[in-house]
């Protein structure tokens, strides 16, 4: 198995290296689905250029990376330009490996110890069921075209995904300081990962409980508070370092302000651009609030209440919802949460929408570039065509998320109530209403 995974890394690395050195690189990097104003390498180059010319890149509205990112990327561009492609590939492979590791640890947690209903032995996971999913996770990351394109297009989503992967790993390992620091780094770059603090704190509290001598006891509030404080302290420290590097706080407006206010309405795979292009200016603020609450906070409380026993699934679904609803999503974000899904391979039997979602993904991925060309270059279509495709893409993703959550609930129900279900003497079926 180990050999197989290393072979996969080698093949994935070669594919990426070949594409990076091909003529497709520029085409891929220029796609709106891959590069958004937030993650495009073109903007990074521009920011580094302005920075070197002694111009504050945050005063102009063309650069949205953090000062920390700016400093690192500037060093990369000016000192090791020939290695930039390699750095992107290595980061992507490391992300895949971290996810593989995370999945392995998660699998060991999945071995069920609880006492369930009598006839549920068939449902319980056996040791043999837990070998392959980590390989699937790594493969889904390494060979997902969304991820490959995101890496080849040199989007900074590659680094965001790396931070997120480390957050997942450190969260499951229970290292509070490291986990909070990485999460703060991810939050610094793209703000939305802040919601992952909730599953992380649950995980860390659980880890504390299992390591303590008393054994089973309720989660302690002090653990949650400590996690939150560590995270906030780490984030503040990073912000302070950023302000020192940038020589002021203007970057907050250019990064977080940009993410929250959505001033650039260049189309992407998300839902903001079309809506806010058509918006009357006086309603803008209201809908900015509505959309951002939807993206970050709306699902946090209900999902936490329902899934607090399964923080990994909570974290994955929050990541997925973030990728659907955030202001500047790209396919790199979508690919990341898709790679997490094989961890719940045992739920796939309970999913009903797999075929529909698969078709949606396939068709929208093909239709997107076509209608984009018709609209932007041939002038024979208009914005509605492309918006239709992005809307269908978002719908497919929401189907996928609800499906996997419902599959989890169905399995849990079956475990506690047995496979045989009868209401008033009739066999019944579980339906999501």
């Amino acid at each position: 198995m180990e050999n197989l995974i290393y072979l996969e890394y080698a093949v994935a690395g070669i594919i990426r290296y070949w594409l990076l050195n091909s003529d497709y690189k520029q085409t891929i990097g220029d796609r709106v689905e891959i590069s958004t104003p937030l993650n495009s390498w073109r903007k990074v180059t521009e920011g580094a250029y302005l920075y070197n010319e002694g111009i504050n890149p945050y005063v102009g509205d063309n650069f949205h990376e953090t000062p920390l990112g700016l400093t690192v990327f500037d060093k990369m561009i000016s000192h090791i330009p020939q290695w930039i492609g390699i750095i992107f590939i290595v980061c992507d492979l490391v992300t895949a490996h971290v996810l593989y590791h995370t999945a392995q640890i998660f699998m060991s947690e999945l071995v069920e110890k609880d006492k369930y209903a009598k006839d549920t032995e068939a449902l319980l996971l056996k040791q043999s069921d837990l070998v392959l999913p980590p390989v699937y996770v790594a493969s889904a990351y390494l060979f997902n075209p969304y991820i490959i394109f995101s890496c080849v297009g040199q989007t900074t989503t590659v680094f965001a995904n790396l931070c997120l992967a480390f957050t997942f790993l450190l969260m499951i390992k229970g290292h509070r300081l490291a986990c909070c620091s990485v999460l703060a780094l991810a939050t610094l770059q793209s703000l939305y990962p802040a919601t992952l603090l909730v599953p992380a704190s649950i995980y860390l509290a659980q880890a504390e409980r299992t390591s303590s001598l008393e054994g089973r006891q309720s989660l302690r509030a002090s653990s949650f508070i400590l996690t939150a404080v560590t995270f906030i302290a780490a984030l503040l420290l990073l912000l302070y370092i950023s302000s020192e590097l940038a020589g002021g706080w203007e970057f907050l407006h250019a990064t977080y302000g940009f993410i929250l206010n959505v001033p650039d309405l260049r189309p992407n795979v998300g839902l903001f651009w079309y809506f806010f292009t058509e918006m009357f200016e006086n309603f803008r603020l209201l809908f900015i609030y509505a959309f951002q609450i939807n993206a970050a906070l709306l699902y946090l409380v209900p999902l936490t209440l329902r899934l607090h026993g399964e923080p990994m699934l909570l974290a994955a679904s929050l990541t997925a919802l973030m990728a659907v609803f955030k202001s500047y999503p790209s396919l790199g974000d979508v690919g990341f949460y898709l790679a997490l899904l094989p961890m719940w391979k045992h739920l796939f039997n309970y999913m009903q929408q797999g075929f529909v979602v698969g078709c949606f993904f396939l068709i929208t991925s093909v239709m997107g570039p076509i209608v984009w060309h018709l609209w932007i270059y041939s002038r024979s279509a208009n914005a509605n065509f492309y918006f239709g495709v992005t809307l269908a893409f978002a719908t497919a993703q929401i189907f996928l998320v609800t499906d996997i959550l419902f599959a989890y609930i169905k399995r849990e129900f079956s475990l506690y109530h047995g496979l045989h279900r009868e209401v008033n003497g009739k066999t019944t079926k579980l339906v999501l209403e």
């Binding site: 260049r266 651009w273 270059y377």
Partner: protein, 505 residues
């Protein structure tokens, strides 16, 4: 008590009378001039210049009592603490390559730039208010000037009048253009009302809307600056120049021949000088008479003067309208001996053309070509205001001269808050252009500037979303060669060779 009141009344009276004494309008005079110049391309360039010079201190109170100076403008200038003011409202594009430099160069649409006095506190606010006030004065859309389209470029502009300190501080300068502005009669009428004779008498009677707005190029100008009253410059005067530049296409107007006359160009003859004018002259450039198509002036000019500028000798026929003793209508006509002969086109020292490249609505590029017609290399200062809807990638800036890439010497950036995305302006100095311009046949190899940009998505409510996109023009300027023959060493290509020529006559 009564005595006290009386004394008080006396003091008030005394103060009042003394105030009256000081506020009697100071010495002022008004000149009107018209230059007619046949261009080698067969066009006729008509340039009107109405100059009001007022020997007064440049202060708010000075403008409360005006004589020849337009009070409406004076009050605005005084109230907003303006040191120097330049407005132009232009329709059409000046073709530098074939027409040479105009007396006053102007950006397409509306252009406004002003220097504020150093005592001005909040310049951005004052600037916006000034633009608003001028918008009312000239019925132009200058009220659309705000922080998103205003610049304070460091290199391109210098005060044209006298200044208190030798180093110009560009923080007191604001510059804006509105390329979409359409200039029409509604701007000409209020502009004419600022003249002492209005359009009732004098050269301004020639300015009839119907004959101005059918030209290839028309530009109204208003230029206010402080000047020296005497050689020693011990005192200050205020100078207001109102200008009109017109380019007539004789192919359209000429009915098959090249002959032109005042009546043909302006639709009306001249009935006499403005009685308030000290000088009322008509100049006709007859330089082309020797090299190009030969024409005869009727009536015969009373005087011919010669002027040498930058190595070029120009000849002007001068008609002093005041001395003409006009009875009825006066007309000057030019009769050509041959039907249509085009002169040799000598492109000016520095001219620019630019175009956009790329296809599709996603991204594009702007190419600007700077042509050097001088025998040696030139330093060029280049100013460009990129609107917010063309997010620019400065790292793609590529300057090629004679096949070699050159680096700009200074790249200044003035970034401004735009509507949704900020606009970029850069005011750079392409000093190194010097090294790479080959002295021989410079026109063959223009320096080429390439910049790439995105095309931003307009919102539903953005003004541009239903219209064409208008982008500001560029402002290349250079230190003119042979500067000793000019009053000012820095004459930008926008304010070309002819800038000083009337003044020095």
């Amino acid at each position: 008590m009564k005595a006290v009141l009386n004394t008080f009344a006396c003091i008030v009276l005394f103060l009042h009378s003394s105030f009256c004494v000081t506020s009697v309008p100071s010495k002022d005079y008004f000149d009107e001039e018209l230059l007619l110049k046949p261009l080698p391309s067969g066009h006729i360039y008509a340039y009107f210049q109405f100059t009001t010079v007022w020997d007064v201190e440049f202060e708010v109170t000075s403008f409360h009592h005006c004589h020849l100076f337009p009070r409406a403008l004076g009050e605005i200038v005084g109230h907003y603490n303006v040191q120097e003011l330049h407005i132009s409202l232009t329709g059409g594009l000046w073709r530098h390559e074939t027409w040479g430099y105009p007396v006053h160069d102007a950006a397409p649409g509306a252009e406004l730039w002003a220097w504020f006095k150093e005592s001005t506190t909040s310049i951005d606010k004052t600037w916006k208010e000034l633009a608003g006030a001028l918008s009312g004065l000239l019925c132009a859309s200058l009220n659309f000037i705000d922080s998103s389209n205003s610049l304070s470029p460091e290199f391109t502009f210098r005060p044209t009048g006298i200044v208190s300190s030798p180093a110009a501080n560009s923080s007191y300068l604001r510059y804006a253009t509105l390329p979409r502005e359409i200039v029409c009669t509604e701007n000409l009428t209020p502009w004419k009302k600022l003249l002492p004779c209005d359009a009732k008498k004098g050269l301004s009677t020639l300015l009839n809307a119907g004959h101005i707005h059918n030209t290839n190029y028309h530009s109204l100008g208003l230029h206010l600056r402080p000047v020296c009253r005497d050689v020693g410059c011990s005192q200050m005067s205020v100078e207001l120049r109102q200008t009109v530049s017109l380019v007539y296409d004789m192919v359209i107007l000429g009915n098959g021949n090249q002959d032109w006359s005042i009546k043909k160009l302006f639709g009306i003859g001249l009935s006499g000088a403005c009685p308030l004018a000290t000088m009322s002259n008509i100049y006709i450039d007859t330089t082309l008479n020797e090299t190009g198509a030969h024409f005869q002036l009727s009536p015969t000019p009373p005087a011919i003067i010669t002027s040498t500028r930058g190595g070029y000798e120009s000849k002007f026929a001068v008609y002093d309208v005041k001395a003409l003793d006009i009875d009825g209508m006066f007309n000057i006509a030019a009769f050509y001996s041959s039907s249509r002969v085009y002169g040799v086109n000598l492109p000016p020292v520095l001219y620019t053309n630019r175009y956009i490249i790329g296809y599709g609505q996603e991204r594009g590029g702007i190419v600007t070509k700077l042509h050097n017609g001088h025998w040696k290399a030139l330093d060029v200062v280049y100013l460009e205001n990129i609107p917010w809807f063309m997010p620019l990638y400065l790292h793609t800036l590529k300057i090629l001269a004679n096949g070699q890439e050159i680096k700009p010497l200074i790249l200044m950036d003035m970034t401004l808050t735009g509507q949704t995305i900020n606009s970029y302006a850069y005011d750079g100095m392409l000093k190194e252009l010097r090294k790479h311009f080959k002295p021989v046949r410079p026109h063959k190899n223009p320096a080429e500037m390439l910049l790439q940009h995105d095309k931003a998505t307009h919102k539903f409510e953005d003004s541009g979303s239903h219209h064409k996109i208008w982008v500001d023009g560029v402002n290349p300027s250079t230190l003119q060669p042979q500067s000793s023959t000019f009053r000012s060493p820095l004459v930008s290509s926008r304010q070309g060779c002819y800038m000083q020529h009337k003044v020095s006559d």
